[in-house]
């Protein structure tokens, strides 16, 4: 009888040890395969920061560059456009860009104009509703689908969400969030690099 108990406890010990070691091997192997899903070097290289030269951008003009497969708008706002940002405050869903701030608004953009320099807006041109690219409606004044006191901004053609000239979403629209301001920095007065800032690469 005692023989059997000895066999049993020895065997159980081996079973546990084998299961544990086998489990480690299995998890390690599975982990390697799961890791193959991570972005490859090619994807990371394609997602590398993009430099934009804004020397030729006139006030009121907008440039679009591609970063990580998405359109990024660089808008050189006129002084009137910057001033108009104060007027839209009451109609906005999130005027102080407090929602999802970590994802959507880096610290240097947590201000009235949502940018490093008031003149230049840098924002990802993808609507926070379901991912269409809004159309620029930079001119002030009443237009179809826009409010009668339209100050200028963007209108998304898919479901009608509107954003002001700082990319902030208006109330009572399908889109929940302001447009994302990507991490960016000025490498000179006229060159912006998108996807990188003082803290490193995005």
């Amino acid at each position: 009888m005692s023989d059997e108990n000895q066999v049993d406890s020895g065997r159980r010990g081996l079973l546990v040890a084998t299961a544990a070691a086998g489990g480690v091997a299995g998890v390690a192997g599975a982990g390697a395969f799961v890791a193959t899903f991570e972005p490859s070097e090619r994807a990371k290289a394609a997602g590398a920061p993009v430099e934009v030269d804004v020397a030729d951008l006139k006030p009121g003009e907008m440039k679009t560059v591609e970063w990580r497969g998405k359109p990024v708008w660089v808008l050189r706002r006129t002084p009137e456009m910057v001033a108009s940002l104060k007027k839209t405050g009451g109609d906005l869903a999130d005027p102080k860009s407090e929602r999802n701030a970590d994802d959507l608004t880096p610290e240097y953009a947590r201000n009235e104009h949502r940018s490093i320099k008031p003149e230049f807006l840098v924002t990802v041109g993808i609507c926070s509703h379901l991912g269409c690219s809004p159309s620029p409606k930079l001119e002030a004044g009443a237009q179809p689908s826009l409010s009668s006191d339209w100050q200028g901004g963007f209108l998304c053609p898919c479901h009608g969400s509107t954003f002001d000239l700082a990319g902030r979403v208006f109330k009572n629209k399908p889109a929940p969030d302001n447009l994302q301001v990507p991490r960016h920095m000025f490498t000179s007065d006229t060159r912006i690099v998108i996807g990188k800032d003082q803290k490193g690469e995005a």
């Binding site: 091997a25 390697a32 395969f33 890791a35 193959t36 490859s40 070097e41």
Partner: protein
């Protein structure tokens, strides 16, 4: 039949209740017990009996690594080669997936050849196990096709020219050959069209057939029960519990034994994957690191090592050799006429076929017959259940000199394999021709030699030493 719901006491564990719910609707426990848990197998299995489960393991490895490779591979003649290096360099851990797949391909053949050797040694193909053997031959053919189609995918020089040569083999068939080759390729030479269809065959068509054949192979096995190294029919000696006295349930005994086998296999497999994935150019051929160039054939094309024995036979079939073959065919016809007990109608038919074959061997050239011989050298294995007339299933109870016959056969097979990787010379071709005669002689003369000699009495109980 009315549905019968198993009733368990209210305080039964949840797991037991869940299993019972499933078992009432799906034969899960029955499947487990019939196929493995209470599948009673002879207790004298030796090392040779590990290779079946190892083959299943390698199949799973190839499928899983294959799926992950397909996520990043591009089946386009312009992109394929670079996409493989993309996997090796840029996909996180892609290099591991690739090396496991390339090593797995060679491992598959090593394991399967050893598995087949077991069958030959112990008469595992004898009645009532003929169908298991035939499904096995089907699996072997699918495996060769799978390897062939898969090898084109990296689109290296060996990939390209190997495919070109093999597809041209079909061109050797009289009358329909060239059209058949064109149809297989989808183009005048191996090209993007060929690559795409080979990709489809390799990734889904053949794997499905392979899985089906493996299931059939196992069902046929479980229907009649396993053979064993002594060739004793263990079901003829039942104990009071209804199972063979020399059998044990597969679980836990063969579960633990097979897991040990798996651990040993994975150790060797990993040593290759991490330290020698090219394996001297045999598992990953050096020339395949050059992108395919339709205008330049490498100096040395050889098929991958697992095809070389059969390739040797193809190459050995020269116009000179045809005369030797004609003699052999006619002699075989004469042998059937004089040394068999068949009805005279069949004897005459056999001689007639021999004569017609001999004439055709004079009409069609050696190129065609080389292809035929290569094909027959693979398919002849299927005949084993009917050409082995030995009174003893297992080599253990046959006359000692039979062992030498098997050894000579085995060595010829290995020599043929070795010669297949070398460049041909007159001397080597002669050796290959001799080995070809030995190879075919082993099978074709088996109905006679397998009966000859003094056999040892086959015991009623298996040879087993408790450990």
């Amino acid at each position: 039949m009315a549905f019968h719901e198993t009733k368990l006491p209210a305080d039964a564990p949840a797991a037991q209740k869940a299993l019972s719910w499933v078992d009432d609707r799906f034969p899960l426990t029955k499947l487990w017990n019939d196929q493995w848990g209470k599948y009673y197998a002879p207790k004298n299995f030796n090392v040779f009996y590990l290779f079946g489960s190892l083959a299943a393991l390698v199949l799973v490895i190839q499928i899983v690594t294959g799926i992950f490779l397909v996520m990043n591979y591009k089946p386009d003649a312009n992109l394929a080669f670079a996409s493989v290096e993309y996997i090796m360099r840029e996909v996180p851990w892609g290099w591991l997936v690739r090396y496991m797949h390339s090593t797995g391909a060679s491992a598959f053949f090593i394991v399967v050849y050893l598995h087949m050797t077991r069958g030959l040694l112990y008469g595992s193909y004898r009645k009532p196990r003929e169908l298991i053997w035939l499904f096995g031959v089907g699996i072997f053919l699918c495996l060769m096709a799978e390897a062939f189609f898969g090898y084109l995918l990296p689109w290296g020089q060996m990939s390209y020219w190997g495919a070109q040569v093999i597809v041209n083999l079909f061109g050797a068939i009289p009358f329909i050959g060239p059209d058949l080759s064109l149809w297989i390729r989808g183009d005048y030479v191996v090209s993007d069209a060929t690559l795409n269809r080979f990709f489809a065959f390799h990734v889904i068509a053949i794997p499905l057939v392979l899985l089906g054949l493996v299931v059939a192979h196992l069902i046929a096995l479980h229907e009649v029960g396993s053979n064993n190294p002594d060739g004793v029919e263990v079901k003829e000696n039942l104990g009071p519990d209804g199972h063979g006295v020399d059998t044990i349930p597969s679980h836990p005994y063969y579960t633990t034994k097979d897991i040990f086998g798996v651990a040993c296999f994975l150790f060797i497999f990993s040593a290759v994957v991490f330290y020698a994935p090219e394996f001297g150019g045999y598992f990953l051929e050096y020339n395949n690191f050059i992108p395919a160039d339709p205008l330049k054939t490498p100096a040395h094309i050889a098929p991958v090592w697992y095809f070389t024995p059969f390739y040797s036979i193809l190459r050995a079939t020269t116009s000179q050799f045809m005369y030797a073959l004609i003699l052999c065919v006619l002699a075989y016809g004469a042998l059937i006429m004089t040394k068999t007990q068949l009805p005279s109608r069949q004897k005459q038919a056999a001689m007639g076929i021999a004569v017609v074959t001999a004439i055709l061997m004079l009409v069609f050239d050696a190129k065609f017959w080389g292809v035929v011989l290569m094909g027959v050298s693979v398919l002849i294995i299927a005949l084993m259940p009917w050409i082995d007339h030995s009174p003893a299933k297992s080599i253990r109870y046959r006359p000692d000199w039979h062992k030498w016959v098997y050894i000579v056969f085995g060595i010829s097979f290995l020599i043929l394999g070795y010669l297949g990787v070398q460049a041909p010379t007159d001397g080597r071709t002669l050796v290959a021709q001799i080995c070809t005669i030995i190879y075919f002689g082993f099978f074709m003369l088996m109905p006679w030699w397998s009966k000859m000699g003094e056999f040892k009495p086959v015991p009623t109980r298996v040879n087993f030493k408790p450990h």
